[in-house]
């Protein structure tokens, strides 16, 4: 045992140890988009979509790697295999967006809405807790809750996810209400802009919303194999999740804060892409 081991608490590093710690990735200097996700299709990245379920028979979605739901039996919440599919279409829409950006990522469904379920309280907490325990790389949460009594639990879960290297991408509520978990700094929070390019996203200089991505008049996969044109922050978040999957496929060990930093560096307002044409915005598409 070295002197350093004796004198420093377990969570400390001495200077020499810190100097020799290698970060998993170098900071992108030139052409950050190409560095971040150029050539990536999201392979090897596991994404969990906590929503209304997913219809894997929809041509814009295809096979998914897991389908579970929170169930309520005599007041007890459990996680079980889901046989309902998507009872609204919303989760399928989110999956279709992510699949279009990161076609090779794994997609898992955790249904917290539909049937007897409302996703905005204890059921949401249960589903999110399960997803964090599974250590998915990314969790897409195009939902939030205004219920104050679960806010503290959600904050603890968001912190737990952060320390387990699980990245939560959460859509901001569309209305001026206090809702969670998108307001927590440990998650990536997403609002909408009305552009169309799926790779056009911006850092918001006025948090708590950190990123804005397309969320207006988007053609989306929906229920029973249909497509609709819809608007909502719900659909902006999966764009950031999809880009996150592309980045993590190339840079596996990025922490949540590093992923945020890379996404900031590659955002349209942090690069010269601001003046580029819409086609050029997607130059690093896979």
């Amino acid at each position: 045992m070295t002197q350093t081991d004796v004198t420093l608490p377990a969570w400390s590093l001495d200077r020499e140890a810190a100097r020799t710690e290698r970060l998993p990735a170098v900071w992108p200097l030139d052409n950050p988009r190409d560095w971040a996700w150029g050539g990536s299709r999201g392979a090897g990245v596991k994404v969990c979509i906590i929503d209304s379920g997913i219809d894997p028979s929809h041509p814009r979605v295809g096979a998914i790697q897991g389908s579970l739901a929170v169930t309520v039996t005599e007041g007890e919440l459990r996680v079980e295999t889901d046989h309902e599919g998507d009872l609204f279409g919303h989760g399928t829409a989110c999956a279709g967006i992510i699949r279009s950006q990161a076609p090779d990522c794994e997609i898992h469904s955790m249904r917290v809405l539909g049937g007897e379920l409302t996703g905005t309280g204890d059921v949401l907490v249960r589903g999110l807790s399960w997803a964090i325990d599974q250590r998915f790389d990314l969790i897409n949460l195009s939902l939030s809750t205004t219920k104050q009594h679960v806010a503290a639990q959600l904050r603890e879960l968001a912190d737990l996810a952060y320390f387990r290297n699980v990245k939560i991408v959460a859509s901001a509520h569309n209305m001026p209400v206090d809702s969670y978990p998108w307001r927590f700094s440990s998650v990536l929070s997403v609002g909408s802009h009305d552009g169309r390019d799926p790779f056009e996203y911006y850092v918001n200089p006025s948090p708590p919303v950190e990123f804005v991505a397309p969320g207006v008049d988007l053609e989306l996969a929906w229920s029973d194999g249909s497509t609709i044109v819809a608007t909502g922050n719900s659909f902006a978040a999966p764009h950031i999740t999809g880009i996150g999957a592309l980045i993590l496929s190339k840079h596996r060990d990025l922490s949540p804060s590093e992923l945020k930093a890379v996404m900031r560096a590659a955002s349209c307002n942090e690069t010269s892409l601001r003046s580029a044409t819409p086609d050029a915005l997607g130059e690093a598409k896979p």
């Binding site: 209304s52 609204f88 539909g114 939902l143 809750t145 219920k147 569309n174 819809a230």
Partner: protein, 196 residues
């Protein structure tokens, strides 16, 4: 007695909200539905435009369709071509006979849950419901939620025991100093949240 203290006055106020929303967006119809959690149904409370004469009082399942989504998720959504959603088209056609193209639904949120839904059908004031329109509708939905809360509260007839407890609380609040009053209100709010 003020006009708002009776049911007819509150109903006029609720109706004025849907009339205002419909006029603002030149919509074919606008409605406010309350959510009855005991039956998991939505109840038409006020309707402007299409269905105004026939829909008030009618009930729909709160578990499907865009309105069902809004109640369950407590989120708004705007769909430009809802008739392409086979489930929505089927639900709406069976219940109203009118299948709109564009549908925007906003939850009416109050104290951490959805009291009901504001629905706007086939707006023609704008090509689509974009970010600016969503902001206006969010404000209207907040207003509608306050009015619907007023209407629903007035329907609840507390038992004598509940009434006595509420009056005792009111007296205690009136008698308390500012700090104690705030503390009492915090306790009441927390107990109310916990009971939901």
């Amino acid at each position: 007695m003020s006009a708002l203290a009776n049911a007819a006055g509150q109903q006029r106020l609720l109706q004025s909200v849907v009339e205002l929303a419909r006029a603002t967006f030149a919509a074919r119809a606008c409605s406010i539905m309350s959510h009855d959690p005991s039956t998991r149904e939505l109840v038409f409370e006020a309707v402007a435009g299409e269905g105004a004469a026939t829909l008030p009082g009618r009930r729909l399942p709160a578990t499907t369709g865009l309105a069902g989504w809004s109640i369950a998720s407590e989120e708004p959504i705007s769909v430009a071509d809802a008739s392409r959603d086979p489930r929505f088209a089927r639900d709406v056609a069976e219940s109203t006979g009118f299948v709109p193209s564009a549908v925007t639904v906003f939850p009416l949120l109050s104290h951490g849950h959805a009291l009901g839904v504001l629905s706007l059908l086939d707006q023609s004031a704008s090509a689509s419901v974009g970010i600016a329109e969503m902001r206006v509708l969010a404000t209207l939905a907040d207003h509608a939620a306050s009015v619907l809360q007023l209407v629903l509260d007035a329907r609840v007839q507390p038992s004598d025991e509940s009434s006595d407890a509420l009056h005792a609380l009111r007296r205690a609040l009136d008698a308390a100093g500012e700090a104690d009053r705030r503390a009492l209100l915090t306790i009441v709010t927390s107990l109310t949240d916990l009971s939901r």
